[in-house]
Amino acid sequence: MEDASAYRFENMESKPTTSHRDSASARTGPGGSVMDKPQGRIDRLITLSFAKSVEISFKSLRVRFFRSMITVSSLVLAVSFLAFVLVNLDVASGLLAHGGRDAATVLSAAGYDVDGSGGGVSMAAKERWIVFLSLLVCTVGIINAQLMSVTERFSEIGVMKCLGALDSMILRLFLLEAAMQGLAGSLAGAVLGSLFSLLTGAVRFGLAAWVHVSWLGVLGSVGLATLAGCLLSLLGVLYPALVAARMEPINAIRAEH
């Protein structure tokens, strides 16, 4: 116990005195327990700056580009479906606001739930369920893909831990990767879905769909779908990242043999 606290002392003590402590004096540290090594510049505790974390996770995404694409593809599909449905609603409300009664009948015929009194359009219950289910399936898909990615990188994580990485660093790297994947994937999905929705709108209702639609609303829908996608991506990586972060380095290295 006494030894351990001496060790802690060495840890703590080295932090604030970095500036006025040259490598010569570092050698004759407290209790002679400091190693005979140049300690001049390397004096702080274990760190990994945010910028560096972003750099590392971006690199590992880039190197595994194809793999990441597969992880992201389910997200792209689910988010584009969400965006498609949301923008469809935007188009329909635009038409309804402008066209009044005639538009309401046309929209009802096209399968929208038109609220006669309030003049609003809402998702059909069935549609709501399908959107919900697609997002659920997508999350499960992300968890699956990320768990595989963690398993694939067992030894890499173990090595990082042997080199002194903390659990929180591993967690951060995985979360950052997921956030980047989520942002890129759901942005692509949202843009894709809304474009497709606008196209089908124009085909079904003519150019009136584009004229009367609230572009701010469309932008809002794209934003909402993107946000949802990012959240799902982070949700999906949470468990795999925890598994990775909690892993003992010894198991990680053994896993390869």
Partner: protein
Amino acid sequence: MTEERRTIVRVVGVTKRFTMGKVEVRALKGVDLEIFAGEYISIMGPSGSGKSTLFNMIGGLDKPTEGKVFIDEVDISQLDAYELAWLRNRKIGYIFQTFNLIPVMSALENVTLPMTFAGMNADDAQDKGIELLKLVGLGERFQHKPLELSGGQQQRVAVARSLANDPAIVLADEPTGNLDLTTGEEIIELLRMLSQDRGVTIISATHDYKMLNVSDRVVWVRDGVVDRIERREELKITVGGIGGKDNGRAEATVHGGERG
């Protein structure tokens, strides 16, 4: 020679039990060991002797069931996660049988990663990384990814990486296990040079008899206990017998050492 030296690793009464399914396996049955700063130690023993378990204990990668492991007079079972990370980062350098470089990073990035964790600024880390790669003879190949390097070169990068934060101890787990004869010898020579020139304590778990010639002491582990510890001077007599029993390769190496 070693008497006046400082103890860097002390293993006291360490036992380790694993439960594999319903069977309890006693990997270590009470090991005491003292390793001095600057020594080159080989831990030898057949597979399943507890050699790797002992090795992992010394490296702070595994905790003993009973007993204590002190590194630099610090009981490592008392350390929390941060201090363990600090220990792995600054005090110990690891070299593995399977090299275990991070495949997505270049040789230089692999070497500088521990320095990044240690909070060294990027430029200094870069300079030191190149310097270390030059030391292991890979000065001009620092931009290569691990998969673009041969096994021996990868292990050289791993050696450079293990030295990143000037550790007191370098732990080498079967460093020559995946290498051919000549490349293995080069790595052993590199380790020997490091222990002599830089005063690094090198502890290697191995069953490569080429290691015997350069080791200051050899710890023989058998059935979870330390069978015997031999100094290099004593070794040459005993090893002849072992080399004879074993394959011709070991014999040749040992005889070569005797002549030289």
